[in-house]
């Protein structure tokens, strides 16, 4: 599974936005991901995949930023064209 698909799956627990609208250029705040939800999501991803994204990570603004942030840790391709 590429990272975008993984993010889409993870976000389904947190937002109502249809998967097809969770695209790399989508702004996270516009699709219902505020700072609190983002923190919860990142904790959840770290726990599920037993990785640590770091203590001082840049805050992603778009879905693409989020994919780029987590892809190196989750073994995904980070292929944003998916």
């Amino acid at each position: 599974m590429d990272t975008l698909e993984l993010i889409r799956g993870a976000l389904a627990d947190y937002i109502d936005t249809p998967a097809e609208n969770i695209v790399p250029e989508a702004v996270l705040a516009d699709i219902g991901v505020d700072s609190l939800t983002l923190a919860e999501l990142l904790f959840d991803l770290e726990d599920k995949h037993a990785v640590h994204l770091g203590d001082d990570i840049p805050r992603p603004v778009t879905v693409g930023d989020l994919v780029a942030l987590v892809a190196p840790y989750l073994g995904g391709s980070g292929a944003l064209a998916a």
Binding site: I15, D16, G32, V33, D34, L36, T37, A39, E40, D47
Partner: protein, 414 residues
């Protein structure tokens, strides 16, 4: 000079449903919303008689992003407050006017599900950390904050945690603020969702919960009855919009009832044992505040939890205050049907009292077939509701653990 305060909106989410008229009709019919409910999925878990708002779906109501950021007690409270605001017809109140509107909320046990989840992760799942939302979901003032956020209300946002008197105390504070002229409109009420595993375990340990099986659960809570066997936990949210009378009239609002007074006291005698003198002080305080004589009151929506000690103490306090008028005073405990909603109870029962005034009908104490000899001396409304064409003034009482007592006086508008 004191201003008159009126109720222009109410809303509730209850074990008997969300629709105000339908739920009140259910109460008048003596219908119970209590049933067996399993708390917890592992070991231990408990099957308890409970009042659960089964039809309430927070995700459908608020969407995932917002509902995920609220514990159930906040979800119930927000839903009730939005309904009350809508009933009050305040959707078009300007942003500037909303900056002075306060939220006065009550919760007794707060975010029990969130606390459970955190301890489960720490102690059972052995996680080194818990959800970053734990604080914002778990704080007692979360419900009030969500209401203020959703409605854009910029006045004072206070939360009262006074066990079973929480919402009554909150409503009283809102009433006093409007009466004194510091606000024209306020949202007041309470919410609780006490079905976290730890919360239920704690209540079971106190040995005050009524037990029952599937058949007997709906009538497990029998206040004032000779065979009463304890209280039934419930979840609920309930809210009122309180408003300055002139403000309500100027905008053509429907006035549901007038809030006439508020009285409070502390037993200062015992943490859990109810105390007649403390309740008497609260009852006399509300009558004094509302400038009422005992004979002016026709109905009391009692605290009535169906505990061995609480019910006789409450009736004794009513007898002491109402003296010769006690025998004609109609009394009922609607917890027999919706259960004990903890910090929300006072708001739910204040809303029921408003509906009683509005419909001129008094809901009953259900399940009580024989009034205990220790609970006699008032005119109990039993079984099904009664018509009450003479109903002009009613009280709604909350007598809490910790010895905190609070009573509201409500009257017909006009």
């Amino acid at each position: 000079m004191n201003r008159r305060v009126v109720v222009t909106g109410l809303g509730w989410v209850t074990p008997l449903g969300r629709d105000v008229d339908a739920a009140f009709d259910a109460l008048l019919g003596g219908r119970s919303g209590l049933a067996l409910h399993r708390v917890g999925t592992g070991e231990p878990s408990y099957e308890v008689v409970a009042g659960i708002c089964r039809e309430f779906d927070p995700v459908a109501e608020f969407g995932k992003p917002r509902s995920n950021q609220m514990d159930r007690f906040s979800q119930l409270g927000l839903a009730a407050a939005l309904d009350a605001w809508s009933m009050a017809g305040l959707e078009h109140l300007s942003p500037e006017a909303r900056e002075t509107v306060g939220v006065h909320w009550g919760t007794g046990v707060g975010a029990t599900a969130t606390m459970d989840r955190g301890y489960q992760d720490l102690l059972v799942n052995k996680k080194a950390r818990i959800s970053p939302l734990s604080i914002v979901l778990g704080m007692h003032n979360a419900a009030g904050s969500h209401i203020a956020l959703a409605l854009g209300l910029g006045g004072p946002c206070s939360t009262h945690s006074v066990a079973c008197a929480s919402a009554t105390m909150a409503i009283g504070q809102a009433f006093q603020a409007i009466r004194a002229g510091s606000a024209d409109v306020a949202v007041a009420g309470g919410s609780d969702a006490p079905f976290g595993l730890g919360s239920v375990a704690a209540w079971k340990s106190l040995q005050v919960l009524a037990e029952g099986d599937q058949a007997s659960a709906p009538r497990a809570c029998r206040p004032f009855s000779a065979d009463r066997a304890g209280l039934v936990l419930a979840e609920a949210g309930a809210a009122l919009v309180l408003e300055d009378y002139e403000h309500a009239r100027a905008r053509g609002a429907t006035i549901l009832a007038e809030m006439l007074g508020f009285g409070a006291s502390c037993d200062h005698s015992h943490l859990t044992k109810p105390f007649q003198d403390g309740q008497v002080r609260a009852l006399r305080a509300v009558l004094r505040d509302a400038q009422l004589m005992p004979k002016d009151v026709q109905y009391v929506n009692a605290h009535g939890t169906a505990t061995q000690e609480g019910d006789p103490t409450e009736i004794a306090a009513l007898r002491a205050v109402f003296e010769a008028d006690a025998a004609a005073l109609r009394v009922s405990a609607t917890k027999s049907m919706h259960g004990h909603a903890m910090g929300a109870a006072g708001a739910l029962e204040a809303c029921i009292t408003v509906m009683s005034l509005r419909r001129q009908r008094i809901p009953p104490t259900a399940g009580c077939e024989e009034v205990d000899v220790s609970c006699q001396g008032v005119r109990h409304v039993l079984g099904v509701g009664q018509d009450a064409a003479d109903l002009r003034v009613a009280l709604s009482s909350s007598f809490a653990f910790g010895g905190s007592n609070a009573v509201l006086a409500l009257g017909q508008p006009g």
